[in-house]
């Protein structure tokens, strides 16, 4: 009778899943990994953000909830790099449901969004804007749906999410930061704030896969400003160094600081 020598249990660090058979290795998921998505994804135009999102970009077949401190803060700065590729097909449109301010078509055209591909649906009242969003999602709109739904309740968002499962277009819901108090049925939830200089600070509040506490710093210079920015403004100076102008002077005083600020382009 031989003596059984107990084998020590393998330490977790020594675990290499690629030693497993291929089909098992594929099924193994580690808690630190970013999950995948069912539908196709669209690159966001920001490498850091792509890396943090499941599937490497904005998801389709599901909602993306973007939380902002105030409406009309940085929606286009966040989305503008991704949207022009969506509009390559001439029949696709960008649907704006109840935007907080009037969009400016020429400014958007400078970002690469053709005016004939923009549709602004001007609705008042939370019930109507929810209904419009749902109709658009249900009709499997091609392009993208951008909806500002500050007052939507979680069960209403859940209803949209169920509809969005069949929609092959990204659907963005813009909501206030206070929506963080409620759980969200949307599979992706970001909160976006203005960062230092030209930057945007993005926190991934919810995603498929590992929880992320990192703050992503995106260098989001509006696309139409790129060509006119002088080199000294590539890094935005810290606020506070403001030239003082004299009240009694007529017109515009020609102080040294003011002259330095006014660089024509």
């Amino acid at each position: 009778m031989s003596v059984l020598t107990p084998t020590p249990p393998p330490s977790p660090s020594a675990f290499d899943r690629w030693q497993l058979p291929a089909h098992v290795a594929q099924a193994v998921w580690r808690g630190t990994e970013v999950g995948g998505t069912a539908g196709r994804t669209l690159t966001t135009g920001y490498e850091a953000l792509d890396a943090a999102l499941p599937g490497g970009g904005w998801p389709t077949q599901g909602l993306s909830e973007v939380l902002l401190a105030q409406a009309a803060l940085c929606e286009w700065r966040l989305l503008a790099p991704a949207l022009p590729t969506l509009l390559a097909d001439r029949s696709s449109r960008i649907y704006l449901v109840a935007p907080p301010k009037a969009p400016h078509a020429m400014g958007l055209a400078q970002l690469g969004l053709a005016p004939e591909q923009l549709v602004w649906i001007d609705v008042r009242g939370p019930a109507d804007s929810l209904w419009v969003t749902e109709q658009l999602i249900k009709s499997e709109a091609s392009g993208a749906v951008l909806a500002w739904l500050p007052q939507a309740r979680p069960e209403q968002v859940r209803r949209l999410q169920v509809q969005a499962l069949h929609c092959d277009a990204p659907v963005f819901l813009f909501r206030p930061e206070s929506a963080l108090r409620d759980a969200s049925p949307a599979p992706l939830r970001l909160s976006v704030a203005l960062g230092k200089g030209w930057g945007l600070e993005v926190r991934v509040r919810k995603r498929r896969g590992a929880v992320s506490d990192d703050v992503l710093h995106l260098q989001a210079v509006p696309g139409n400003l790129h060509s006119v920015l002088p080199p000294r403004l590539r890094d935005l100076p810290a606020p506070g160094v403001q030239p003082q102008e004299e009240r009694h002077a007529l017109g515009r005083p020609a102080t040294a600081t003011a002259a330095r600020l006014r660089i024509a382009h």
């Binding site: 803060l73 286009w76 400016h104 005016p115 549709v119 649906i121 001007d122 109709q135 935005l236 606020p239």
Partner: protein, 434 residues
């Protein structure tokens, strides 16, 4: 041969069963071989089976439509047999051999035989099978020739001849409601029946409707002021045959309609039709199709929330921010050459009217002191442009120095400094680079 018999049956909510003529017009979408026989409609669909995806799919399609219109459907290899089955209440004449099924049908379900029911009953004939078993020579001598002809046609021994109904040039259908409709949405149930008939007619003629009119007649017990009735014309942007779309549009419009008196009778007219080219079906899913359903969704949104709620931009060559673009409900004209982009980087959000900013130490303030980044860019002119506001004529002349400004909390802004009366100047916020 593959025959269907549609037998009108009374529907709950309607005063009388559907007219065979209206039923025939609806049925013409499936086959050109439609005939009115006595109180029923016979259609021969053998040639259409493949087009509609096989007999099962076609059966389901016809049965759903017919049950909605209020008609009993029966199927059989011959037309008279289908009619006899429909009268009997049986539906499928393909369940077994035709002879066996038809032999068990009572004689009163075949009209030519039923005419001699009294005589036949006296010799103990109750079913078609028993009548068929009688000696032919004696039958021919004793009864008229029509009886033997009908029996032979029903059993498929002799060809059936009918005069086919042709598709009418225009569509008009009416419906009497059983109860009075007191509110407009109540009419929708009856109107849906009419829409179903119209969709059938459109499909038969390969047309799409761009406008249809629903008329209603007020009940006889109305007040004098209410008038004889009312009407509602509904237009769609694109010619379509889609019943659900018609019904939803009509529903949205009826929700907003107020009836002056209860309505008793409805009438539907296809006012404007256009030839419709059906897209050929493809194995590969077509992305263009989804655009079409979104257009229908936008139309529904417009029907509920008003024409003006959907806005599309039109750029114009102007250097003033407000007049550079117009948003209107019309589909934008796609110009052959897109207008050149403005030389200045423009904001993506614009304020309807510029917001005057307060100043502290001669610096504009908007959610914190503004840091002026780039500027000034002088935009001046517009003396040629006049608008009427409250009766007074104003010139849209502007003289502004635009600056790109940065606010710690509100992001990038497009602000301008303008000269007020006297030597005063003021700062205004005009747009956000949001």
């Amino acid at each position: 041969m593959h025959w269907a018999a549609l037998l009108p049956r009374p529907l709950p909510g309607c005063a009388s069963p559907i007219e065979p003529q209206a039923l025939a017009v609806w049925a013409l979408q499936f086959t050109p071989r439609v005939a009115g026989v006595e109180e029923a409609v016979l259609l021969e669909v053998e040639a259409s089976l493949r087009l509609f995806g096989g007999s099962e799919a076609l059966h389901a399609l016809i049965e759903t439509g017919a049950s909605e219109l209020g008609a009993q459907v029966a199927w059989a290899p011959t037309g008279l047999a289908a009619l006899a089955f429909a009268r009997q209440g049986a539906s499928d004449g393909f369940a077994g051999p035709l002879t066996a099924l038809l032999d068990a049908v009572p004689i009163e379900h075949l009209s030519a035989v039923a005419r001699h029911q009294a005589t036949l009953a006296r010799v103990g004939c109750r079913t078609l099978g028993q009548a068929r078993a009688l000696p032919r020579g004696g039958m021919a001598r004793r009864f008229d020739a029509a009886l033997l002809t009908a029996l032979d046609q029903a059993y498929g021994l002799r060809p059936e001849t009918y005069e086919w109904i042709s598709v009418p040039e225009s569509f008009e259908a009416r419906l009497e409601l059983l109860g009075r409709a007191d509110t407009a949405p109540e009419m929708l149930l009856g109107a849906r029946l009419l829409l179903l008939q119209m969709a059938g007619w459109l499909r038969a003629r390969q047309l799409g409707a761009t406008a249809f009119t629903l008329r209603w007649q007020h009940d006889a017990m109305r007040s004098r002021a209410a008038g004889p009735g009312g009407e509602l014309t509904i237009r769609t942007a694109e010619a379509t045959q889609n019943l659900e779309h018609f019904a939803r549009l009509l529903g949205e419009h009826l929700d907003k309609t107020e009836l002056l008196a209860p309505a008793g009778e409805l009438m539907l007219i296809a006012t404007q039709v256009e030839p419709l080219v059906e897209a050929s079906h493809s194995l590969i899913p077509d992305p263009a199709h989804s655009g079409a359903s979104t257009r229908l969704a936008l139309e529904r949104i417009q029907a509920r929330l008003g024409e003006a709620c959907i806005r599309r931009p039109q750029l114009s060559a102007d250097h003033r921010l407000e007049w550079m673009q117009q948003w209107s409900a019309a589909e934008p004209r796609r110009s052959p050459k897109p207008p050149p982009l403005h030389v200045l980087p423009l904001p993506t959000w614009i304020l309807d009217t510029p917001l005057r900013l307060i100043e502290r130490a001669h610096r504009p303030i908007y959610q914190g002191t503004l840091q002026l980044l780039l500027g000034p860019d002088r935009v001046e002119g517009g003396w040629w442009d006049r608008t009427q506001i409250d009766g007074a004529e104003l010139t849209c002349n502007v003289q502004r120095d635009y600056w790109l400004a940065h606010s710690e909390h509100a992001g990038l802004l497009w602000i301008f400094q303008a000269r007020l009366a006297g030597d005063e100047t003021a700062w205004f916020l005009h747009g956000h680079y949001g």
